[in-house]
């Protein structure tokens, strides 16, 4: 996978993850172009389109579009599966996720994605394992935060 974009129906970017190194300018250009193309498609159309030399796989969940760019030989259906799996993970983590969850906790959304995919490849196919890793990392974070608060209070 080359990159993943999440954007709203209004075309606002909610999350972007690039697995190929590109300059900011290029990223912006690609994002703009893709958001337009995908939003222009009718709801009954299939989820795939050919774009430049890549294949775009997108799916809409509620008001959010999840959009992935894959290479020519990659499997479109498994990419849809990846998108779906990511949505499930977000859902489990936030508890019936909505767009606002992702807006306000965008760093968490990234952390979850990073536990699921690494360098554009699926890292962990088990939902349970992904969530466990996130929970433990969160726990660690809380602990350190707690300690730092304690330190402050102690002084």
């Amino acid at each position: 996978m080359q990159f993943m974009l999440l954007f709203s129906r209004q075309g606002k970017l909610r999350l972007q993850k690039w697995y190929v190194p590109l300059s900011d300018k290029e990223k912006k250009k690609i994002t703009r172009e893709l958001v337009q193309t995908v939003l222009a498609r009718k709801p009954k159309m299939c989820s795939f389109l050919e774009w430049r030399d890549l294949k775009i796989v997108y799916k809409r969940y509620a008001s959010l579009y999840f959009c992935c760019a894959i290479e020519d030989q990659d499997n479109e259906l498994i990419t849809l599966e990846i998108i779906h799996r990511y949505v499930e993970l977000l859902d489990k983590y936030f508890g019936s996720v909505c767009e606002l969850d992702i807006i306000f906790n965008f760093e968490k959304a990234y952390f979850i994605l990073d536990e699921f995919l690494l360098g554009g490849e699926v890292q962990e196919t088990s939902k349970k394992n992904v969530l466990k890793a996130i929970e433990q990392a969160d726990l660690l974070q809380e602990k350190t935060e707690y300690v730092s608060q304690q330190e402050v209070l102690w002084v």
Binding site: D24, M45, Q73, F111, G119, V155
Partner: protein, 1177 residues
């Protein structure tokens, strides 16, 4: 200090955190930019504080702003600060920010190396994990080089959580720093069998991705992956493995055969659509790579097509789309199987989704045949009517034209029908493709002589309705058709029923609203029409020579004002309007024509016949000419095209250089190369101009690169069956009903024809007993439909090699095949003797491929580490082995006792082949060029690219050089070292004297004089392979590198230092990389004129053509682009991107090779190497 901390935390309480920022942005919708610039100022303040907590908060907000499109590269250093925080919370935020905004251009990135290294070795697995995740996004070549070892260590971490991340990130590291692949690969391979499924799947992912970039190197892992595939149940992993096999099979067709069964099993059993789709795709790839389309695989094709049908019928748009996509892949090689599902594809044309409709259209293009063309086009026309949106309609229009005109109109049997379709298409409003329709009209009218009368009538009707066409918005696109209409009416005016009327239509005042180039054609052709009118009148009148001279002629002119006078009058009236045209071309032609008409009128008034003179203006028949027709003209005797016409400018360079330089300065020396250059330029310019001219000239048949094109025998012009036009056909109905009528007419015609043919066949059968070749064919098969009119085609190439194999010849060829086979035997055995110490890996794979997988588990584990095995028997076959498909590959030694039997079998088989070939010949056009013959010829003799490098009492070195497109100008030398002694050889070291052109890649820090250690020892009798990378400056010439292998030979008595010198030869062929090339891309390349060419011819070659090709492919890394009979075009590419094209032709006992290459030096070197190879054939 304490106070500071408290202050920091209090500060923090008043700061905005991320949530506040997001909320703020949402509340400032109208002045968002202003609000954000305020926030950025605040953030800059925060970043200046000492507290890491505040900084982390600021960085977190910046990351959010980055997503909104704001530049945060100025904060890169602060991000690194936060990354290096000891607290996980901050570190996490820091790495996230870095992974979002760092890229290769970020200069501070090099400051992170040590921090990342520290985090990688952190005791907390989450610190390590975060660092790995971040690194995967911003790894640079420098970071990859510096951290490769650390990550490699992590691949064996105790925690699977870290292992899998480390394995995955290694892929990114390999991409940035390819040198790390070799040392890391053994460990990566180990991970394929990791106890943790996550790590295992990560390793599969990485190897699969690597193999897709460079499949060749991973062929040896096939057995291992095969085992994984048959044992794994994880669909994610299975998909990757199957994809990997898809990349490997083109290199090793036998692997494909082995895969078919497990893949079809999966197709049957799986319920996961993604896996099913992957399997189907790989099966298709396998069948394409087997290419011969062997009959025993038709079941697999059927299965795929069946499953795809289910996908296409599914209500899910996604499955439908993918089904059609995969179908089109099958169509390329197995059109018959797909054609059965035409109904489904047509159905998809009605789909709501445009992307699905477009896919279906693509499929239709390949599905047409003579039989169904009319029906399909009829349906497409209906869609044209229904289509909303011009883009899709234009697509439909181009597809209709493409479908009808493909392969020199090979599917069009009735051109009246086609013309009426084209006329119907002109009704399309606002299409951009008027010129396409016009081009088709011109092409058909010129090349199909029998259709001209009909075409002219239709075009006259079109001209009559011209005001309609020219009005309003349509002016832009569709009026192009009038260009064709006017030209056809003028050029073939002898077929016009009422030329006066057409002339009147062409001179209507509204014509001046048309674009200039069309008006020009109008004017020009008006003159042609006038000539036609005049001619008719003069022919009708009694010949003036028979009649008494002056008086009678005067009387004639006086009392019969006639059509010609009327026409002339009309012209004189209307042409002045064109003379005033703003378009220069129109103006010029109009005034010219006007004068001509005036003169003609004057002469005519005096009774002088002028028609003959006027028509001489347009005399001469138009015949289509093939672009390469010149080649067909034999060079007249006594004409030497290579001889100088004038004396060459001067004698040889060497002679004149010195004496002249003394007297005349350097002038001549400068002048000559310049002239040469100019010549080249001039040549290129002329070539370009000629191509332009040909492209614009409708009388040149454009070269069409389709390999499937059928060259129909072009009978003489007189033999074209002229069809009487049924006069009941209304000439002026350019509407749907017209084309419908032709469909009916055509059906009737076919019916008649079939009845006739059936009768004939019957008689023939009675006469010849079972000799009737077409005995089993369906009466309705495609080939039986003889076209009503033929396209007038001059074959583009020389006929002998393009003509489809004539059936009566084939038995002879078949009979010759066994003989050839026999004569090959001794050679083959010799070859095998020499092969003894060749690449073990390949043999191991051979062995694995020849046998059934579960039979020998021991062996397949041994094969898992192919570089170490020594015990694999050299002869790869055991007679008892069950290998049903591999009968041909049995060594000849085993065959000898059954020689007779074998021969009989061969005879039988050749008989069978004959039958099957005949059947195929009837079934339709050959699918791929050369595929037919290949299936029937004998297997190739074994070949090896390993050559002996050096040998002494201790060790034998063989080597092979391969270029790779991956790492720029690099070649990999695979060196096989075999210990011939009873000593243990150790501390092997390879020293090579670098040349300016080639350098051995040494480990970092080593000097150019250091040797490179060979990473293994050699116990007695063992051989092993090591790989060395050389970087190459110039690939234009071959070269040799001197080198020495030094080692310590040790046995019980002691050890000695030994040396073995060698000369490593890099041929130019070793710089080539087998690169597949499509025939149209190939044609473009040749047409580009960038390549220089030369030729080599070698006599006395007895080898079959296929073997010659295989040899060239193997030893010089070419791939066959297209093969037709005993002629083949081949392609390869150097590691520096030079294109090399070959045209190999076999005549009796000789093979000639035309080489074209972008560089003359490389061309010369390659020619020498090819000559050497061919001489050895």
């Amino acid at each position: 200090m304490a106070l500071k901390m408290v202050k920091g935390s209090i500060d923090r309480m008043f700061d905005k955190n991320l949530q506040d920022l997001v909320r703020g942005i949402r509340n400032h919708k109208e002045d968002e930019a202003k609000y954000i610039s305020q926030c950025i100022d605040e953030i800059k303040q925060e970043l200046r504080q000492d507290s890491l907590a505040v900084k982390a908060n600021a960085v977190c907000k910046l990351t959010y702003l980055q997503m909104l499109g704001y530049d945060i590269s100025w904060a890169a250093f602060n991000i690194i600060e936060v990354m290096s925080a000891s607290k996980f919370t901050f570190k996490r935020v820091g790495y996230l920010a870095a992974s979002q905004c760092f890229h290769e251009g970020t200069d501070v990135i090099m400051l992170t190396t040590n921090q990342i290294r520290k985090d990688l070795s952190s005791p907390s697995q989450y610190d390590t994990g975060v660092a790995l995740t971040g690194l995967s996004c911003f790894v640079t070549p420098d970071l990859a080089r510096d951290l490769a070892n650390d990550i490699m260590t992590l691949m064996s971490h105790t925690k699977p959580y870290i292992r899998k991340k480390a394995v995955l990130i290694m892929y990114k590291v390999f991409l940035k720093y390819p040198e790390s692949l070799r040392p890391a690969f053994p460990r990566l391979k180990e991970k394929l069998e990791d106890p943790d499924p996550g790590v295992q799947s990560a390793a599969v992912n990485v190897i699969c991705e690597l193999a897709r970039r460079n499949p060749k190197n991973y062929l040896s892992l096939a057995p291992l992956f095969f085992k994984l595939m048959t044992s794994s149940t994880n669909n994610w992993v299975l998909i990757k493995i199957i994809k990997l096999f898809g990349a490997l099979t083109p290199l090793e067709p036998r692997l494909g055969k082995k895969l078919i069964e497990p893949l079809t099993n999966l197709i049957h059993s799986t319920s996961a659509m993604s896996l099913l789709y992957e399997c189907v795709n790989t099966v298709i790839a396998v069948l394409i790579s087997l290419s011969s389309g062997m009959p025993n695989h038709s079941a697999s094709i059927q299965l795929c097509v069946q499953k795809l049908r289910i996908l296409i019928e599914d209500s899910d748009q996604n499955l439908k789309y993918l089904g059609l996509l995969a179908m089109s892949k099958i169509l390329r090689t197995h059109p018959k199987s797909v054609q059965a599902h035409k109904d489904l594809v047509l159905q998809c044309l009605d789909d709501k989704d445009e992307s699905i409709r477009l896919r279906a259209l693509d499929l239709l293009y390949g599905m047409v045949s003579k039989k169904n063309l009319m029906e399909i086009v009829k349906q497409l026309l209906q869609h044209v009517d229904k289509a909303e949106g011009t883009a899709y309609r234009d697509e439909l229009l181009t597809k209709i034209i493409a479908i009808c005109s493909q392969g020199n109109y090979q599917h069009v049997t009735n051109f009246q029908w086609y013309i009426s379709i084209l006329v119907e298409l002109t009704r399309l409003e606002g299409t951009r493709h008027g010129h396409l329709i016009a081009a088709q009209m011109l092409d058909v009218a010129i090349r199909v002589k029998a259709i001209r009368a009909f075409a002219v009538a239709q075009m006259a009707a079109l001209l009559d309705s011209a005001p309609l066409l020219a009005s309003g918005a349509r002016r832009n696109g569709i009026c192009e058709v009038l260009y064709a209409a006017a030209w056809i009416c003028g050029e073939f005016s002898e077929h016009l029923q009422e030329p006066q009327q057409t002339l009147a239509a062409m001179l209507r005042p509204r014509v001046s609203a048309l674009p200039g180039h069309i008006q020009a054609v109008y004017v020009q052709n008006a003159l042609k029409l006038y000539t036609a009118v005049l001619q008719r009148q003069e022919q009708a009148a009694p010949d003036p020579q028979d009649a008494p001279p002056d008086a009678d002629a005067d009387a004639d002119a006086a009392d019969a004002p006639g059509a010609a006078q009327e026409a002339a009058q009309l012209l004189l009236e209307r042409l002045p309007q064109f003379v005033q045209s703003a378009d220069l071309e129109v103006q010029e032609r109009a005034s010219c024509v006007l004068q001509l008409v005036r003169q003609a009128q004057k002469l005519q008034a005096r009774g002088v016949p002028v028609a003959a003179e006027l028509s001489a203006l347009f005399a001469g028949e138009l015949n289509p000419v093939a672009p390469k027709a010149q080649k067909k003209v034999p060079v007249p005797e006594g004409l030497d095209l290579d001889a100088w016409i004038n004396e060459p400018p001067s004698d040889s360079e060497a002679e004149d250089e010195r004496p002249r330089a003394m007297f005349q300065e350097d002038e001549p020396r400068h002048a000559r190369p310049k002239a040469q250059e100019a010549d080249d330029e001039e040549l290129a310019r002329r070539r370009e101009a000629r191509r332009q001219e040909q492209a614009n000239n409708p009388f040149y048949i454009k070269s069409c690169p389709s390999p499937q094109k059928l060259y129909q025998d072009a009978p003489g012009v007189d033999h074209i069956p002229v069809v009487c036009i049924d006069l009941s056909v209304p000439l002026r109905v350019p509407g749907l009903p017209a084309s419908e009528q032709y469909v009916k007419l055509e059906e009737e015609r076919r019916h008649r024809q079939r009845a006739e043919k059936g009768g004939r066949k019957h008689r023939k059968k009675d006469k010849a007993g079972r000799g009737g070749r077409r005995g089993g064919s369906l009466p309705d098969s495609d080939e039986d439909i003889a076209p009503a009119q033929r396209v007038d085609i001059v074959t583009e190439e020389m006929p002998e090699r393009h003509r489809p194999v004539a059936p009566p010849k084939s038995p002879k060829k078949e009979a010759a095949a066994p003989k050839e086979r026999k004569s090959k035997k001794p050679k083959k055995e010799k070859g095998r003797g020499r092969d003894r110490d060749r690449d073990r890996k390949a043999q191991a794979l051979d062995l694995w491929l020849c046998s059934t997988p579960p039979a020998e588990p021991a062996e397949s584990t041994a094969l898992g580490t192919p570089s170490l095995d020594t015990e694999v028997p050299t002869a790869p076959q055991q007679p008892s082995e069950p290998c049903p498909d591999e009968g041909d590959r049995e060594p000849e030694a085993h065959k000898k006792p059954h020689k007779r039997k074998k021969q009989r079998q061969e005879k039988e088989r050749s008989g069978r082949d004959k039958k099957s070939r005949k059947k195929r010949a009837e079934d339709g056009p050959p699918l791929g060029t050369g595929a037919l013959e290949e299936a029937e010829e004998e297997p190739l003799p074994p070949m090896s690219s390993y050559a002996l490098l050096a040998e002494n009492d201790f060790v034998r070195m063989t080597y092979e050089v391969r270029g790779s497109l991956q790492g720029g100008s690099q070649v990999t030398v695979s060196l096989v070292l075999e210990n011939l002694s009873s000593h243990v050889l150790k501390s092997l070291e390879l020293g090579v004297l670098d040349s300016l052109n080639a350098r051995l890649a040494r480990p970092p820090g080593a000097s150019a004089h250091d040797g490179v250690p060979v990473p293994f020892q050699l116990p007695p009798g063992v051989s092993n392979e090591a790989q060395f990378v050389f970087s190459i400056q110039s690939v234009l010439t071959a070269q040799k590198l001197k080198g020495t292998l030094s080692f310590i030979a040790k046995n019980d008595e002691g050890s000695t230092h030994e040396k073995l010198d060698f000369k490593l030869a890099f041929t130019c062929s070793s710089y080539l990389v087998t690169t597949p090339c499509y025939s149209d891309a190939f044609a473009k390349l040749l047409e580009s004129g960038d390549l220089t060419g030369s030729c080599v011819k070698v006599d006395g070659i007895t080898m079959t053509f296929r073997n010659v090709l295989a040899k060239i492919c193997f030893h010089h890394r070419f791939s066959v682009v297209e093969r037709v009979g005993s002629c083949a075009s081949m392609y390869s590419r150097s590691i520096q991107g030079h294109h090399v094209c070959l045209l190999v032709k076999q005549a009796e006992q000789s093979v000639s090779v035309d080489v074209k290459c972008a560089d003359a030096t490389l061309l010369g070197s390659l020619l020498d190497e090819l000559r050497a190879t061919l001489s050895a054939c």
